[in-house]
Symmetry: C2
Subunit: 365 residues, 2 copies
């Protein structure tokens, strides 16, 4: 058995079809690079609700903790939209983030040269954009207590949530952002609403303290979330690393992804703390795009984000930088060669489906 | 004395300079249209802190309640950045919203044909965009209790805020959005994170109930905030009215404004409830842009958003639709004539400063 243990959770919608293409890449590595992975596959999200009665079973959490890395697809679909809040497919991913302590969600938004024209923004505005959003992902308003919907004595309802951050939660994700910036262009834009939120005030204060004490070589800029949304849209090239809370990181990373125009290309990683003894960290890799129920089963989904998520996994969880680069450059070549799935189709290019795209990547490898 | 009482609050930064141009428009109306306004002017924001020790004095709130409409400039600047949370200039506008019960913040994002090229988005993506964001503005996380930064027994800090909505708060702002949609393209996109937030679940439920009971002739679409940010960037024309909480409305309306590329052109209105006896409602009008301290005092700020805010005031607070349309079309003509302030400058146009732009509007009138 290999020392590389992988849990694959394809999920719902297009998840299983794009994951199939990753399996081809893994098979290729097995044959040509003599790296074997011990792979388990399990259900998550809606398909897990149907088969196991819960979006993420205890056993799945246990297996996720036991392996070296989790490769996740996507969850959700109209079939499960009517479910109670405590039962919805999204809980699959939320539970994994929380139970594995995956506090740093890394979401790159990169505009690849052959795809510049896929953006809704002008080519001169987006060419060369290379942003890394670091989103806190186990705290904030996603998990804060108290939360609920209560019925008042007069029968009226009141819904409430708590956005809460402990300074250590802010500090550890800030360090991830600053460390990444050091490998990039040495700039972190920390985003909050310190002008109206108390957790935002603390966020700004703690990030500033960490910066001053440990990362004075990196430039730190503080920006309000509303302004950041504006700036992302009008001048995205000013950004290197963007750091934000669970909620602001969610909205702003989706915006950053959208402006590249090629959502079907974008991977992400969610990392836990490094274990001081083993040097290992829990990690989950998934595409930015969702389960796209409208095109599921049609064989037209873009498998590249899922394949690039696997490349990210090779690099971050196994230090296999060379293999990761091989996969990434194979993807680049396929695009330069003119193949496009429907979502990134441009005139003059050849439109292909999911499996032809996956095969093409393997061929380039 | 006129029956049209106006309180003007120029505020900080470019506020006073752009407000000066509105005064010219008012003078013109006085002479040519024989409409007189009783105008009071007071301080707000940083300038009020300096002169009166508080960003918005009790007297200013009293006067704002007494008049028919408030015309607001913008507040804030580096001079006041170091102030305590309870003292910052932003409290000026937050207090006015809260104390006057201005719960519906209307933020149009319109792409004017002569300014299509000012956008960072491709012309074919933004031409014809006409979005109205209706943002709840007296509730949610901006004001929810409990909130604070506490020091735990071990000396560590914890910051927290409460996002809370009562169903009546949701219902009244939803009605404003549906009413507006009826005068427009009959579509409301209601934005929340009902998949992770309890207040978001209640938001979606209440908006759905109001829709079903009172506005079945309007189309209602529910959208997650992250997806809405994406869609605004990639396909903005799909939107008519966007409805959101104080926080989501803040971020998404700024994004909608940014994609027009002409922030210096965009007015906004914040409205209170209609008094069942007098039929009147408190209202405050202000540009979307901020106080822009970097260009303050240079005479280059764009006065058009402030002038268009005054036009909005004429229409909404005084029912002076004809006069409002006059002002708006004068602005349109000045732009078609080729005048541009620095922020919307394009090649082939004539660059002008604040007062030349203001004069040009009066000349067109
Ligand atoms: C699935 C959902 C709960 C999730 C979130 O809001 O975090 C998604 O939007 C994401 O960003 O991964
Ligand atoms: C000034 C500030 C408190 C304010 C807000 O966040 O509401 C501003 O961004 C706005 O949108 O009017």
């Amino acid at each position: 058995p290999s020392n590389k243990k992988l849990l694959i959770l394809p999920g719902d919608g297009i998840g299983p079809e794009v994951m199939r293409e990753v399996r081809r890449v893994i098979d290729w590595m097995d044959r040509r690079r003599a790296v074997t992975f011990d792979i388990e596959e399990r259900l998550v999200g809606g398909s897990a609700i149907d088969a196991e009665g819960t979006p993420c079973s205890d056993e799945t959490v246990e297996r996720a903790k036991a392996v070296d890395a989790v490769l996740f697809g996507s969850v959700g679909g109209p079939k499960w939209d009517g479910l109670a809040f405590e039962k919805r497919p999204e809980l699959g991913v939320l539970r994994l983030r929380k139970d594995l302590g995956l506090f740093a969600n890394l979401r790159p938004a990169v505009v690849l040269d052959p795809l510049v024209d896929a953006s809704s923004l002008k080519p001169e505005v987006v060419r060369g954009v290379d942003i890394m959003v670091v989103r806190e992902s186990t705290g904030g308003i996603y998990f804060g207590e108290p939360r609920g919907i209560e019925t008042l004595p007069d029968g009226k309802r009141r819904g409430f949530d708590t956005d809460v951050y402990h300074e250590d939660e802010i500090a550890r994700v800030a360090r991830v952002a600053f460390d990444l910036a050091r490998q990039r262009r040495r700039k972190v834009t920390s985003v909050e609403k310190a002008n109206v939120m108390q957790s935002g005030r603390l966020w700004r204060a703690v990030v500033g303290e960490i910066h001053k004490a440990e990362y004075a070589d990196v430039e730190l800029e503080n920006m309000y979330a509303d302004n950041c949304a504006m700036q992302l849209c009008s001048r995205p090239k000013q950004f290197d690393v963007i750091l934000g809370s669970n909620l602001f990181g969610d909205v702003l990373s989706d915006l950053a992804a959208a402006l590249t125009g090629s959502l079907g290309m974008l991977p992400s990683a969610t990392l836990g703390a490094v274990d001081p003894v083993t040097g290992k960290r829990h990690a989950l890799y998934e595409p930015i795009h969702g389960s796209a129920p409208d095109i599921a089963g049609k064989g037209i989904a873009n498998p590249l984000a899922q394949i690039l998520s696997f490349a990210m996994l090779l690099r971050w969880s196994f230090g296999m930088d060379e293999d990761a680069a091989l996969v990434e450059s194979a993807v680049g070549k396929v695009l330069s060669g003119g193949l496009r799935t429907a979502d990134i189709m441009q005139s003059g290019m050849a439109r292909v489906g999911t499996s032809v795209m996956g095969e093409a990547v393997v061929r380039e490898l």
